[in-house]
């Protein structure tokens, strides 16, 4: 039987506010345990939550960016469950009245196809603390620094049909929140965590199969692998006549498998009710309009601008706009070079390779955009051949100075001058009468031999274009007939 997977993702996007969602403590990553947990976060008696204005603004910004409905009236609810890293015994979340309503995100697949993913809702909530199970025999250590960190939970409709689509959507969402500067996008530090709801059904069936939920996947690769594993697991069960149990599962990346954590409590068991400590949030049309006017250029718009105004290919534009840091760097270089294609080639080629080699992010690129720009300008004005340019680039990378300083200091200027090159070429022609005779006899391949000699004589600095022109000219003038017209 042919099976179809049905996948929905819930992504927790950690908002990059300076303070927590309901308290004035810092949500910064990496502090010593419990040094960023204030009485509100600890759930001490008598404390009250006060909502962070910036978290609200960021949520609205996200909603506007995906063309979603922004609810002018939203309510915070208590989601009740017991776990030691949740000191209050409930998580403040939004249930019946989320701040962001239905919207869509268009996702470009690698094969060029575009899929539209429905966003059911996005709501604000607080994060829980962390439990450390390993170091304390018989005990669990609790660090509440993360407690109260603002999260925007973005929930899709069950619109995704393959692990590849799920990853492409997750990447698109990642790019979007980074463009909006509402999340640092650091997956390794848990700034975006993904839960995947996965079920399978016979291809063509209307009814959804029983689903399982895979919790807390925190890398693009693991999203793909965990969902792939889960689809196969469910198909195996169904094909051997079994039934998929609705449950919550964990992905184990070491073993590449999902394991059941618990059979899912029914959602009613969280006993949501409006939090009496918080009043409803009313958003005015003026506030929403103000946030709308502050939206930056979004990935899709930037990509379209790159293909239409800069005449870049779809592939180049997609590559350059996926990460706002890359697109910003590209545009900064372009400001100096005024040559989009050559600039794109350098960024996608040498610059990207060097960053990858040294395991650096774009924001840490040691070559300032203006200097990569100057380097490219020197290629365009024929000071540098592409080979010499690579040498200059490595020197820029190593911090040896500006592009022009490096060209001067290392004598990397390309030889284009007809007089000087001509002298060198004439001498080579004189020294190699045998090859000249071969050339005259119509063996055009011998030209490569001469080019090689010229490059050797000039330590690779000769302008290859000029060398070819001069060789043809001078070899011709040495008696080679042009042959019949």
């Amino acid at each position: 039987m042919q099976w179809e997977a049905v996948i929905g993702l819930e992504v927790h996007v950690q908002l990059s506010t300076k303070s927590k969602i309901f308290s004035g403590a810092s949500p910064a990553f990496g502090g010593a345990p419990n040094t960023q947990a204030c009485p509100v976060d600890l759930g001490l008696p008598g404390v009250l939550p006060v909502l962070n204005a910036e978290a609200v603004r960021m949520a609205v910004m996200f909603g506007l960016a995906i063309g979603a409905e922004i609810h002018p009236y939203s309510v915070f609810d208590r989601k009740n469950y017991f776990y030691p890293d949740l000191p209050k015994g409930y998580q403040i979340s939004q249930f019946a009245h989320p701040i962001v309503g239905p919207g869509t995100i268009d996702v470009q697949m690698e094969n060029g196809e575009t899929i539209t993913v429905g966003i059911t809702r996005a709501h604000l909530e607080e994060d829980a603390g962390k439990s450390l199970h390993t170091s304390y025999p018989g005990m669990t250590g609790i660090d509440l620094n993360r407690t109260g960190t603002p999260l925007l939970e973005v929930v899709t409709d069950p619109d995704l049909r393959s692990p590849e689509q799920a990853v492409a959507y997750f990447k698109q969402l990642h790019a979007l929140v980074r463009y909006l500067k509402i999340c640092d996008g650091n997956l390794a530090e848990g700034s975006m965590r993904c839960d995947a709801n996965v079920s399978v059904r016979p291809l063509g069936a209307e009814e959804l199969g029983e689903r399982s939920e895979i919790k807390n996947i925190n890398s693009f690769r693991f999203v793909e692998k965990a969902i792939t594993f889960e689809i196969e697991r469910q198909i195996d069960i169904l094909e051997s006549g079994g039934k998929v149990q609705r449950d919550t599962r964990l992905y184990d990346s070491d073993l590449n498998e999902t394991r059941s954590m618990r059979t899912k409590e029914l959602s009613d068991d969280y006993r949501y009710f409006p939090d009496p400590d918080l009043l409803p949030v009313h958003l005015t049309p003026e506030f929403i309009a103000e946030v709308k006017s502050s939206l930056p250029e979004l990935p899709e718009a930037r990509k379209t601008r790159f293909t239409t105004e800069l005449k870049l290919s779809d592939y180049d534009a997609t590559w350059l706009t996926g990460d706002p840091e890359v697109a910003d760097y590209f545009e900064a270089v372009l400001a100096t070079t005024d040559d989009a294609k050559l600039t794109a080639n350098w960024i996608m080629g040498d610059a990207s390779a060097a960053l990858h080699r040294d395991d650096l992010e774009w924001i840490d690129c040691p070559v300032p955009a203006t200097e990569l720009g100057r380097l490219i300008v020197r290629i365009k004005d024929n000071t540098l051949s592409s080979k010499l340019a690579k040498t200059v680039f490595e020197a820029l990378w190593a911090g040896e100075g500006t592009a022009d300083e490096i060209i001067e200091a290392r004598g990397l200027r390309q030889l284009s001058d007809s007089g000087a090159l001509g002298d060198i070429i004439e001498k080579i022609i004189l020294d190699n009468p045998h090859q000249v005779a071969q050339y005259r006899a119509g063996k055009n391949k011998v030209l490569g031999f001469f080019v090689g000699r010229v490059m050797k004589a000039t330590q690779g600095k000769a302008n290859p274009g000029r060398v070819n022109e001069l060789l043809l000219e001078l070899l011709g003038s040495w008696g080679q007939s042009k042959g019949a017209e």
Binding site: G24, A25, N34, A37, L51, E54
Partner: protein, 93 residues
């Protein structure tokens, strides 16, 4: 009368009740549900659900770090701490 699963509710609420308490709670809940049933009988077709009893707007806080965390003091009331962590009886899912 609705069939109330007291054991399930006790598990959700993390309560351990003895038999006598069990029956007392059952009686209380039955009366509460009876009251809710009475409310359910009202026609609310044209009433918007009330999310909050106060018709006021949530005040927002400026996004600033204002809390100085005194971990030593906050942990004085904890039964067990180590390396800055609160220690609780082992929980493994």
């Amino acid at each position: 009368m609705a069939n109330i699963d007291i054991n399930h509710l006790c598990r959700l609420a993390q309560l351990a009740l003895n038999d006598a308490e069990h029956e007392a709670v059952r009686g209380d809940l039955e009366r509460i549900i009876a009251m809710v049933d009475q409310m359910q009988a009202m026609n609310t077709d044209h009433v918007e659900p009330l999310a909050h009893p106060l018709d006021a707007n949530q005040r927002l806080r400026r996004d600033e770090v204002t809390e100085v965390v005194d971990r030593e003091r906050y942990q004085l009331g904890a039964p067990a701490t180590q390396d800055g962590l609160y220690l609780v009886p082992r929980v493994v899912e």
